[in-house]
């Protein structure tokens, strides 16, 4: 704990001191950027990053810390880092969830209740980017770090120190993002389209810096997974003997490595426009605002597969365990992950059908986007084929896996309405889109995350979770989630725009319903957190392989 506190204090002191000192000589934004950069390094040193490098230089073994203290310092053990990612994801999930609650209170009635337009925009933006970060790191960073090395029979990741670095970049980035609440906020959602993002308060700069930091963290993680999975597999584990979860992490890792630098460069261009006075996105100086949208979505569409491929992996890994039979169409499922990686790079402009892009481009991008439904369909084939004639054990992880299938079915099919150019002309930037991506990300990735947490909980903690509480969590969440988000499709088609703080009175009853029934989701998450904490502290000890799974991580 001391390490974490030391890190946080160093971050605060160093960044503020440098920023205020430099502000005398430099423009405000440049001073703030450099302050953050120095603060980031101070944080890394504070949590013990320097010590790790000294050990490396002197070729010494890292000192072993046991007990709960090890979770609060810079360590290279992949299991510890996995837990750090899991807990951090949960913290950000709760924070961004609180933002969702604030939004729902504001939208319970027509008219402005208690937020100003600017605060609403910032709260909505923090909810968005916060949940994006959760979806990006929860499964790969958490479950991937913990399980992948064990599943392929290696001692640790290929680059353990890089692994720790990629995790410890996140806390300062999250703090920076939250501090935008008191530095003017940001009013561009999570997409930061210029010219809007190039002008305005310091809060926008903080968003851009935080986004770039998360990008770096993500790239470090992605490189590490690709290297580990391609180089460090146990003897005899050929590609087509890898567990399907490992396949999914490899696929997601490849997307991260290839795509993230593109969005990072787009955000750097915004940073340069703001801080250095370049004019990449200033049309009056020959800049081009659509360029940003292309670069942004060239990453941000594949990014949804960074979120959802590991979710597919978790689900297809778990179904065979709880259906007591091997995965159906394993080879085809693995190949479909590869197909998704390839296709994900040629669909980005489906976000630009109404943007003013050349119309003739819309058709090919519609075709490629709809083609992704073929490999995605394979995941369903694989799942249904595994369930068929199985002996299903409806434990909590299995329930979440089944819930995933239902939600993602809705999310995937409604995606067709957005991919189809004629209907997208109407649906783009409405709540139909909001409902669609909550079904894929929350109903999909987050459900899969919960499934994986319950499944690996005995392995991670050595304790069993409470099955009854787990089932209560599942049913509350499944019903609450669907009751909350299904009406949003209707709101969207009726004319409810995205990212607005108010709505016409004829939509009021549905909005109130959503605000009320959304509380079920809050309750479900509370039950989950209670179960996790209680079971970890005083749950009964778990047998070494409670689910009789066949993958390597359960070997004693």
């Amino acid at each position: 704990m001391t390490n974490l506190i030391r890190g946080l204090v160093s971050f605060g002191v160093a960044s503020l001191a440098v920023a205020f000192l430099l502000a005398r000589a430099l423009p405000r934004e440049a001073a703030a950027s450099l302050g953050y950069l120095v603060g980031l390094f101070a944080f890394l040193i504070g949590v013990g990053g320097l010590a790790a490098f000294q050990h490396w230089l002197k070729d010494k073994e890292e000192e072993q810390v046991h007990g709960w203290q090890r979770y609060f310092r810079f360590t290279t053990d992949h299991k510890v880092i996995g837990v750090q990612y899991l807990v951090t994801s949960l913290v950000v999930f709760v924070l961004a969830g609180v933002m969702a609650l604030v939004i729902r209170v504001e939208l319970a009635k027509p008219g402005l209740q208690f937020l100003s337009y600017d605060t609403y925009n910032t709260v909505m933006g923090i909810h968005g980017i916060g949940m994006i970060v959760v979806a990006l790191i929860a499964i790969i960073g958490g479950l991937g770090n913990f399980s992948v090395p064990l599943m392929i029979g290696t001692k640790d990741m290929a680059f353990p120190r890089l692994n720790a670095l990629s995790f410890w970049i996140l806390p300062p980035a999250v703090l920076l993002l939250l501090s935008s609440l008191v530095t003017g906020g940001f009013d561009f959602g999570w997409t930061a389209y210029p010219p809007l993002s190039v002008r305005g308060p310091l809060g926008k700069l903080f968003f851009v810096l935080a986004f770039i930091s998360v990008g770096f963290s993500s790239i470090f993680g992605g490189v590490n997974f690709v290297a580990t999975i391609s180089q460090l597999r146990a003897k005899g584990m050929s590609l087509f003997k890898m567990p399907i979860f490992v396949w999914s992490i490899l696929a997601a890792g490849i997307i991260i490595v290839l795509a993230t630098s593109v969005v990072a460069s787009a955000l750097l261009m915004i940073l340069f426009d703001r801080v250095l006075g370049t004019t990449f996105f200033d049309p009056s100086q020959g800049g081009n605002v659509l360029l940003y949208q292309h670069l942004f979505w060239f990453y941000s569409h594949p990014a949804v597969y960074i979120m959802i491929l590991p979710a597919f992996g978790v689900i297809l890994e778990l179904l065979p365990v709880y259906a007591r039979k091997p995965l159906f169409a394993y080879r085809l499922a693995a190949l479909s992950f590869v197909a998704i990686v390839v296709l994900s790079f040629v669909v980005w402009a489906h976000h630009l059908f109404t943007s003013g892009m050349w119309d003739a481009l819309s058709i090919p991008f519609m075709v490629t986007t709809e083609l992704i439904s073929v490999p995605t369909g394979v995941v369903f084939l694989s799942a249904l084929g595994t369930l068929w004639l199985g002996k299903l054990q409806l434990k909590t992880p299995m329930l979440f896996a089944l819930g995933f299938l239902v939600n993602f079915l809705i999310g995937g099919l409604t995606g067709i309405f957005n991919a189809d150019v004629p209907t997208d002309l109407h649906l783009q930037d409405t709540w139909f889109v909001v409902a669609h991506f909550h079904f894929t990300i929350m109903g999909g990735a987050i459900f899969a995350w919960f499934a994986g947490i319950y499944h690996w909980f005995p392995k991670i903690t050595g304790k069993m979770y409470n099955e009854t509480l787990g089932k209560i969590h599942f049913w509350l969440l499944l019903i609450g989630f669907n009751a909350t988000f299904i009406p949003m499709f209707w709101l969207g088609t009726r004319g409810m725009r995205r990212r607005v703080a108010d709505f016409p009175p004829d939509l009021a009853s549905v909005q109130l319903w959503i605000s009320l029934v959304g509380l079920m989701v809050v309750l479900a998450v509370a039950v989950f957190l209670f179960n996790m904490i209680r079971s970890w502290v005083k749950g009964e000890s778990a047998p070494s392989n409670p689910w009789e799974a066949r993958t390597l991580e359960w070997n004693p």
Binding site: D187, P195, S284, K325, G377, L413
Partner: protein, 258 residues
């Protein structure tokens, strides 16, 4: 661990059915029921607002077409899932049993069939989408040109052939209009839900949007691209009037004139 290879999914006396009914018959029946239920729900709740342009009828037709495609697929997958959960679940406390896997050739047959069907559906879907999109965009000819100038956070309209400025959009019924959209500052987006078509307005660029209003009435123009503080209230009134009234209003010297 031993894996049995049992042929499955034979009709007649399939041991996996319920009460003598074979599984595929049960799933088919449930799928039909579920589809009928969902179709009646979506027609009851009226998904779309009133259609007030010719393009809107094309969009609505595309939307209905997609419902006809996705509702049966949704029902089929969901009912197969439900059937499997009900039929193949084990009671807690029973001794562990292993599931039965498909034999190789049957499995591969199902895989190929699944891919073939989804490919055909996807290609058909895209072809329909492309055709409808061409119908919506139509020709480049228009009866009336209107410049739409957006800025944080208001709309302004200029009718070049009448030399008229306006703060609300007035449109002739049944005449094809060409909007020339642009922005003074950040990205905005022109959207009237009743017209369905949506188009961003970009700074430093003029983007065209052509459509034909088909129903007189008052509607609301909404900015659909997040554009800062007052994005929520960046709206304007839209009046569709018959062609005669449109000409008359345009020729009124003092009409909101500047």
């Amino acid at each position: 661990m031993e894996q049995k290879t049992t042929p499955v999914l034979k009709g007649g006396s399939d041991p996996n059915g319920i009460r003598g009914l074979p599984p595929y018959l049960i799933i088919a029946g449930l799928t039909v029921l579920c589809s009928i239920g969902l179709f009646s729900v979506v027609s009851h709740v009226r998904m779309m607002p009133e259609a007030a342009s010719y393009e809107a009828t094309w969009v609505d037709q595309a939307f209905d077409g997609l419902l006809k495609l996705t509702i049966p697929i949704f029902s089929l997958v969901l009912m197969t899932l439900l059937f499997s959960v009900v039929r193949f679940r084990t009671r807690p406390g029973r001794p562990h049993e292993e599931g039965v896997r498909f034999d190789r050739s049957r499995g591969e047959f199902v895989e190929v069939l699944w891919i073939a069907i989804s490919l055909v559906l996807t290609v058909g879907l895209a072809a329909f989408g492309a055709k409808e999109f061409r119908l919506i965009r139509g020709t480049d000819q228009a009866d009336v040109d209107i410049q739409v100038n957006s800025s944080q956070w208001s709309w302004e309209f200029f009718y070049p052939s009448y030399n008229q400025y306006a703060s609300s959009l007035i449109l002739p019924e049944g005449k094809r209009v060409r909007l020339l959209l642009t922005s003074k500052d950040v990205v905005h987006s022109f959207w009237v839900p009743e017209f369905r078509v949506k188009q961003d307005a970009l700074p430093g660029k003029v983007v065209k949007l052509l459509f034909t209003p088909s129903k007189t009435g008052t509607y609301q123009l909404l900015c659909a691209e997040l554009c800062g503080t007052e994005h929520t209230i960046m709206t304007a009134r839209v009046n569709v009037v018959d062609a005669k009234a449109f000409e008359a209003t345009m020729k009124e010297e003092s009409w909101e004139g500047r």
